[in-house]
Symmetry: C2
Subunit: 391 residues, 2 copies
């Protein structure tokens, strides 16, 4: 069984943004890093590059190998076989998203997004002067769902693209076949280009299954660009390696006309080798990770129902992000500020995810049990103290 | 003294393009990899990242640190202090070159290049439908020089940019202050944007000094983009980390208007840490490298003058590339093909470097003495055999 134990001290020695952005008395639970040891196959891959001293110009077929590994993994996990020849690789997903928006839309064009959403989606739309066509996720007693009727209504003749995030960040929803079929049908009917960020797809909990939207039919595939990377599930965001799969050669040629592969830049040798190792040999580690994440999502439910039932939380179906609606806490400030000041926990601020989610925070629970317990205890204590002060 | 010894067997275990592109009986001496052990400070940096398990999202100030290290190094080595706030980092130089050409010129605009040149310069100009304004290097009995009078004549009102490569690849020339001043004066007079690829600047042999063209005056700085990377001198091309310095804020803003930093993508954690280690702690290794390269450039002179004086070779003033004029060998085929077929040595083909250098080859001599001797012996034997057959 892979070791998932790591101490807070070891985590604090990490020099990435998660562990350096706040003062030492704050426990960070924001950006989508995992607080777990790196998977052994990835360490082995890095060591192998070191041993061979393979620091020079990368082999010609490296990017194709990456595309093949992706295709094999998708076939094994989802029964979908993306053509490696229609797959480009580069540094990260945000690059790909920007490139796709630039290639397939113009300033002023409408772009559909299901908010709340990982903020780079919103940044790209506003910075590139596209029109945000907001199709907020609906919330019911069972959790979040795509508002299909709202989607039908909001798409107009000026709408060019639909940016999907599935599994959805921050709600943790794994879209069902039914939801995806409805979205695909609307995309086809309205001639939309779909960009589907599926970077969380390796992190689906038992009971759900990830379905790549491009796998539904040739009709949706030919208008879909699927983005993926081992960066989230295997915690290698700093290694910069991601893939962009085009469901049809025409799409890829339009992309390549706009962006020469050398402009976006190929991934680096460590990113490539770590990704290959993760996808080929990382599944034991991934299983151990999912067990820990499953325990953690349950733990959050237990603690909240016991100590702060006012916070609305639907267990995510994938990934490691708890999307917490703190409206009923009736705080005087945004819950992000409240928990930072009163609990010394650094969450992600709901204000980043839409214009209407200022009463939300996103908690990254990819952390060992004791650290999560400390985070939750700090948050619950702050809520209790405030209750006392208010009462 | 850093170890520069490495066996042919260890080199053949490398999986990059240099050692995998030809059959095993060919010795590769083409792409600008170094056949030397990786510098210890770089290995240490990679090991440190591993030990801290720093594979996640990179610290916010990582790119600024890189820019500061570059600025400090330039100040120490060239007395030039590029502003870190006007320096962007990304994957590789070719990205930057493409981005600069896209930002500062339009299709049909003239772009001056001193041929022969590292082929991506030519590819970028032709693929982006710019007009190649060719200003060939002049050759005299002492070697290559910039044709300043030719440059004056060739620049017209349609010329927008001048792409400089200094030290020059493939001739190995380190441009003199006088040459650079003349080029700068023409650039200023004709309102040209200058992109100066200075990636070989750490590899200047004793007797010459690298002068960044942007260091000459504020007037030339404000129109100059300087490109650099530790990739060539420290053999980390596969780690993908390069810098783009803008001599004025206006230039950088024009660039950022065209290319959001997230579109070109930030460098990865290993590229950043390896570059910092190389620039801060790599100078002992660099000195050992230059000693070996100096011996090798002399060795080539000795062997050629003894065994093939028909091949014209001027010792490079920087780097590890011998630009060999084989015209007087009067071969029936291109020397690239001849030496590949008859000597089983894989050189770079002169045809890649200009339309008129089909009788040239470029020999990468960054290899241990015994390997270079084997390369030269194979080449000289092939020349002798041909002489015998012809005679």
């Amino acid at each position: 069984m892979p070791n998932m134990e790591i101490s807070l001290e070891a985590l604090r020695r990490r020099t990435g943004v998660k562990w350096t952005d706040y003062p030492e008395d704050v426990i960070p639970a924001w950006i989508a890093d995992l607080d777990f040891p790196v998977a052994e196959p990835i360490k082995q891959a890095v060591n192998d590059v070191m041993a061979r001293e393979d620091f020079g110009y990368i082999a010609r077929d490296a990017q194709l190998k990456l595309a093949q590994a992706y295709s094999e993994r998708m076939q094994a996990r989802c029964g979908w076989k993306p053509d490696p020849e229609l797959t480009q690789s580069f540094g990260d997903l945000i690059q790909a998203l920007r490139a796709a928006v630039a290639t397939f839309s113009d300033a002023g064009d409408g772009i559909v997004i299901q908010t709340p959403i990982y903020h780079p989606f919103l940044d790209i739309v506003s910075e590139m002067e596209r029109l945000l066509v907001d199709n907020p996720m609906q919330v019911g007693p069972q959790g979040y769902a795509v508002d299909v009727e709202g989607l039908k209504r909001s798409v107009t003749s000026d709408t060019r693209m639909l940016l999907l995030c599935n599994p959805h960040n921050p709600t943790g929803r794994v879209l069902t076949r039914r939801e995806l079929e409805q979205i695909a049908s609307i995309a086809i009917k309205n001639d939309l280009i779909v960009v589907s960020d599926e970077v969380h797809s390796d992190l689906v909990f038992p009971g759900q299954a990830h379905i790549p939207i491009a796998s539904l039919s040739p009709a949706i595939a030919k208008r879909t660009i699927t983005l993926s990377s081992a960066s989230k599930a295997f915690n290698i965001a700093g290694l910069k390696c991601a893939l962009m799969h085009f469901g049809h050669a025409d799409l890829m040629h339009r992309h390549l006309d706009g962006f020469h592969p050398r402009l976006l830049g190929p991934p680096n040798v460590f990113g490539i080798e770590a990704t290959l190792a993760a996808w080929r040999n990382g599944d034991d580690w991934l299983a151990a990770l999912l067990e820990q994440l499953d325990r953690n999502r349950n733990r959050i439910s237990e603690v909240l129902s016991e100590r702060a039932p006012e916070i609305r939380y639907f267990q995510p179906e994938a990934s490691f992000l708890a999307w917490l609606d703190c409206t009923s806490l009736e705080l005087d400030s945004a819950p992000y500020d409240f928990f930072l000041e009163e609990a010394r926990v650094g969450l992600s601020d709901g204000r980043e995810f839409s214009s209407y989610t200022d009463h939300f925070v996103r908690l990254n629970f990819a952390t060992p049990g004791p650290v999560l317990d400390e985070i939750l205890d700090r948050m619950m204590t702050a809520v209790a103290n405030r209750r006392r002060r208010a009462g």
